[in-house]
Symmetry: D2
Amino acid sequence: MAVTSRDNAIFEAGIKLGALYHQFVGTPLSLHTVDSLEKAIAQSISVQPYVKSITVHIDREMVKESLTSFGYTELKGTMLKVDATIKYENHEVSVGLSLKDGYPLMYIKDVKET
Amino acid sequence: MAVTSRDNAIFEAGIKLGALYHQFVGTPLSLHTVDSLEKAIAQSISVQPYVKSITVHIDREMVKESLTSFGYTELKGTMLKVDATIKYENHEVSVGLSLKDGYPLMYIKDVKET
Amino acid sequence: MAVTSRDNAIFEAGIKLGALYHQFVGTPLSLHTVDSLEKAIAQSISVQPYVKSITVHIDREMVKESLTSFGYTELKGTMLKVDATIKYENHEVSVGLSLKDGYPLMYIKDVKET
Amino acid sequence: MAVTSRDNAIFEAGIKLGALYHQFVGTPLSLHTVDSLEKAIAQSISVQPYVKSITVHIDREMVKESLTSFGYTELKGTMLKVDATIKYENHEVSVGLSLKDGYPLMYIKDVKET
């Protein structure tokens, strides 16, 4: 079957979430640096092709609970809540990453023609 | 618009390529370890949901040309050629990653109903 | 103070453990691919300068316990046990990474002149 | 030989540079996000144990030259200039990462007793 603009919009959205997750999971962070890390992650993804918007939220409560005695921890996939909109030609797709049954799930929220 | 099985197959395919790229780019390698790295990359992606098959090829010529005086280099995106098939419900999507105009491009090759 | 050969041996050992950890944490794995991943990690570090030997062990019990319903998980720092020997000029340093009080600790085991 | 406070200071310094490099190389960036990425990298390392100070500089000229037609590129090791000071007990070690003969070299600049 021919590859459509809808297909490409969704494919690009998947790429962005996979990239974000595997680039940044493991990054050291503390409660003092969580703002800066959220911003850097969002910006690093937003420079990639077809990204219309993205918000990245890291769960402060989970960061707090997992701090070691040294006062820091690492970014885990379960701490992330991401919402992104990708636009490819005349299709716009909204995707998310969030905790579902203890697992960081990536999912398509909506696809629309613009 | 409702999210279809075709959409999800393509979304999962995008996630896998984004993950592969950002997990493994930067890995130290030499001509002696390229086989083992190709295998480990392919296997690490193949354990993820909905992956039907995957092959990973690292360009030996490019590895050779970029070896430092210490006899090793790092995996770069431009060295990778990946072909993967993702199956989600009754849709199968074939995707690729390869060098195009000097840039490691990810693309959809085919989508079919099974 | 002048930088000695002992200093450089230890510095290189630290680099290797930091690199290993942050390159590979987050890698998808299952009980079927753990052997291949251990080998690829050990090889990728062994190609770097001054590495005399390295062994990488991933705790199968911890992998098993953290498998999702999809039958896979991600490499976590706590799953790793690494032993490495770095040789720089006439100094040899043995270092380790292993779980200590719930935390993946990196430490110097021994330094000797050869 | 017994492991000294000097040894541990140097070991910790090596860990930090290895971690920084392998966590962040591959991160997508553009000329508009380079400030934010520098800051996030410096902060993520500074939360780790024994880090007294760290500065991270990304070469804007190299970023500019490697921009794809999509207006972004990825962080490469050769773009990085890092200076860090690690303090462990009564020893302070200054280390650097910078381009040397086309290769991103990590080195000890100074060790002192405080």
